[in-house]
Structure formats: C-alpha cells, structure tokens
Amino acid sequence: MLARKIVLGVLGLIWLVPVYLLLANASKLPAEFGSYGLWEPGTLGGLWQNMLDAWSRGKLNSGVLSTAIYAIVAPAIAVVVGAAAGFAIVALRLRNGFFWLVVIFAASIFPLQMILMPLFVGYAQTGLFNTRLGMILVYTVIAVPFSAFVMRNFFTGVAHHVFEAAVVDGASTWRIFWRIYLPMAVPALVAVFILQATFVWNDLLLGLTLTQSAEVRPIVTALSALQSTYGGSTMSTVLAGGLLVSLPTVVLFLATQRIFTRGLSLGQF
C-alpha cells in the first residue's frame, strides 16, 4: 500500500508541475518577467494585477455573463429534455423506444465539424448568428444525447410499480414525471449537468464559428484571441487569463466530484 501511495504521490506531483508553472508565471508582472527564471515564483502581488489586465485586454468582462448563461441554461434544459425522453422510453414504454434512443444518442457520435457550416449558414439566415439564443440552442442540443442516454439507463433501474402506484393514485403522466421521476433522478441529473456545463464553458469550436461580438462570444474564445494577439512580452497576462477562465470549472468540478462519481455510477452507462 505504501509503494502504491508513493507511486501515486510522485505521479501526482508531476501532474501539478504545469499548474505550478502557471501560477508562478501568472504572478510575475510583465516588467519583471525577464528578471526571474521561469521556474522561480514571482512576487505574488503580480497575480491580481495580471488577472485585471487579462480581464480588460481580453474583454473577458463582456463575455463572462454570456458564458455563464450558456453553461447554466443549456445543460439545465438538456437534462430535462433527456430525462423526458428516458421517461417516455422506460416508464411510458414508448413503442420502439430503443430505436428512438439510438436516434437521439447516435447524433453524438459524428463530429461537430459536420454541423458547423450548415449552422453558420442557417444562423446567418435566421438571425440567430451572434445571438445568445442561438448559442443556448446549439449547446442544449449538443448536450441532449448524452443526457438521454444516462437518464434512460437510470430510469431502467427504477421499479415499474413506482409508476403503476402513481397511476392508481390518479396522477397524470405529466405529474408523475415532474413530481416523482425527476426528483428521484437528481443525483444523475446533477452529474450530467456538471459534465455538460464543463463542456459548454470550455467550448471553443462553436463559439469561434457562431459568434462575433465580444458580448456574445464565450470567454474561451476570448482567451484564444488574447493568446494569439499578444506575444511573449505579456505572457504573464495570457497565463493569468488562462487561470481566470479555468477557475470556475475547476472549482465546480472538484467541489462536486463525489456527487459526480455517485451520479454516474447510478446511471451505469
């Protein structure tokens, strides 16, 4: 057991080296960047200044609200839509339910590249290009297949007499879904939500393709622009920007790790 702990510990430390380099260099003021070695920590005071700098230069402030909206609203709608599909297939015994599950889930296999151009053209024609509504729509749809897959598996594990008992009590299917099945599925819903929220927050490709203005653009796209615009002189600013953009998902993910693991093992793939 001790040998295993040592191996894991050493591996873990190696994993943290890039994180250390990020923190050490994001905290050096641009002016003092050259005077420290890359492996030396800077003066910690620089971190805050660099973050502010990245925030304003990268125009992160205008995108952060949009990104937060996308990362919360889209997965929230998607888990409910996915759960509804799972409910129809498992509890309501939808005819050819397995076929419909495949229809929904198979959509997640082909690469996003296949839909980029039509979405770009279609969004331009319908006025959805560069709008928050358009981004919420596409992120929701991207999250639906996985959500339906996990939720269907989750509901398969629920005894059917739960449904029958509710029917005997006179509840409508609508009510059974919202009042019994959905509340019961909270751990799985949360797990799927976290996974998809992380995906949406970190998305680059759709943001790059379907948005233009700083207000609508997801911040990862803004970070990418910040990186390519400024060279080595403001490396610390770019690194601080990377840190800033990553903090929300890292905190969310680590804080909810247990719920996440439990929810997914309940969903059992």
Binding site: P18, A85, M114, L116, V141, T173
Partner: protein, 306 residues
Amino acid sequence: MSAPTARRAELLPRGKKPKNPYWVSSIGFVAPGVLLVAVVLYLPFIWTSWISLNEYSGLGDPEFVGIENFTAMFADPGFLVSLRNTLFWVIGTILLPVGLGLLIAVLSHGMRGATWFRLPFLVPYAISGVAVGVIWSFVLQTNGALSQAMAFLHLPGADLRWLLDGPLNTVMMILAASWQGAGVNALLFGIGLQSIPKEPIEAARVDGASGFTLFRTMTWPMLAPLTTVVVGLAIVGSLKTFDVVWAMTQGGPGRVSETLALTMYKETFVNNDYGLGAAVALFLTVITVLASILYLRRQLADSRSM
C-alpha cells in the same frame, strides 16, 4: 383503470400487443429530444453531406461537381499530413490517457484518501483545451520552461524546437492532451472497479493470486465492458481534436501539425471552400462512425438486455 405490465403483455397471444394506453404522452415526452436532434444535428448533417459533392463558397448557389472535392482532398499533401497526425492522435490517446487513467484507478482503488490522491489528475480535466494550450505553449516554447529544466539537468534535447518541428509538435500536443485527459479516465475506471463484485477477487486472493497476476486474471477481464467505453470515447474524442491544437500551433507551422478537425475548419472558414471543408468533415465522420460502431454495438446490446 388498470396499468399494463410487461407480464400481462407476455400472457397475451403473440402478435396481439395491446395498445399502449400512454402512447400519446410517450410521444409527447420523447418529441422534444428527437425534434431538437433532428433539426439541429441531423438536418445539418445531411446538408453537409450534400455540399461535399458541390463547389460552394458560401455565396450564390452550390454547383454540383460529384466526387471532385474528394479527389482534390486526397491529392493534397497537407491533407495527408493531417491524416497522419490524426492517426497519431488516435494511437497516442488510447495508449497514454487511457493507460495512465487505468494505472491511477488501480493504484488508488481501495486506498484511504484515494480522493485526495486523484485530485491532481482531475484539475487538468476541468481546464479548457485552450487553457491547456496556453500553459503547455508556455512550457514548450523554444528555450521555455522544459528546455531550461533539461539544460539545468544536462539532459540531451534541451535545444529541441518542441512546437516548431513536425511530427515532434504533434507528439508534444498529445502529451499535453494526455495530461488533461488521464484524470477523467481514472474516474471512469474507478467507477468500474467499485462495481466489480468482491467475492471472486477474494477467492482468487485466497488461492494465492496477488499483485499483477490478480489484476491480469481477475480484475482486467471484469473491467472489459468499461474499457470498451473508455477506449471508444478516447477514439471518438481524439478524432475530433481541435482546441488544444488550435491553442498551441493553430496547425502550423505551415500545416505540419494539422488534424482533420482543423483542416475542416480552415478549408471552410478560412479558405471559404465549403465543398472541400464538407468533404473533410464527411471523411472524418465516416472514420469516426466506423471506429465507434464496435464499441457502441456492444454497449447498446449490453444495456438492451438489462
């Protein structure tokens, strides 16, 4: 009012299934999912397939040219480099993040404080591909942190141009992506290990199996279904690789580190050659679907029998 049960349905003569009393609501509940997927994913999918047979710049009408885009695609040396790099990505992503994930999961399984030991590997997973690219570009820049450390330790290779020479830059980006992806695989394998029944493992242990033998003969075979999923996800994910490459080299210098996902993006949105971009996208889709058919078929067959 009686609810139909599976048992009752089985008692009825064959071919005479009773009408599902909830068929209207069942369609209502499944409809939003199916409609959204159909309109936003399947319709565009069909349109891109069609455009791959056309010459189209986004303006005016598409002009039908048959398989010309595909012949042009295979005649392009840049595409072949991109294809080779994508193959590297697939192989590298199966070997490194999946292998490391398995190692981490097995080592930390049943350990006190396993959550804490897994934490360093989960941090990179939650970071976006762009931020991963930002960090690793910094580490790997010419005479950057890695080169300096190697020079300090008098290791050979300190003068390598990590991100400027191919295929070295692709290899380095695969390492960066492995740094990001190992943690989630460890998480998935950890879930799999927890669901393995304890009795057969204990029995094998009593029979004298331990360490690697125990793993090879008992644990590994029982993990097989999950391994299929993890490897399948790794293949699909690596074929779509975009953001890490975009952030680290943008496919360059020239086109030496492009992947198919990047080639498609550039042909479509930089060169405005929608037809060629669509052809690359379709090609990418075909190999992705072929690669995932095996794993998906097995997965769905398993869950159908539940």
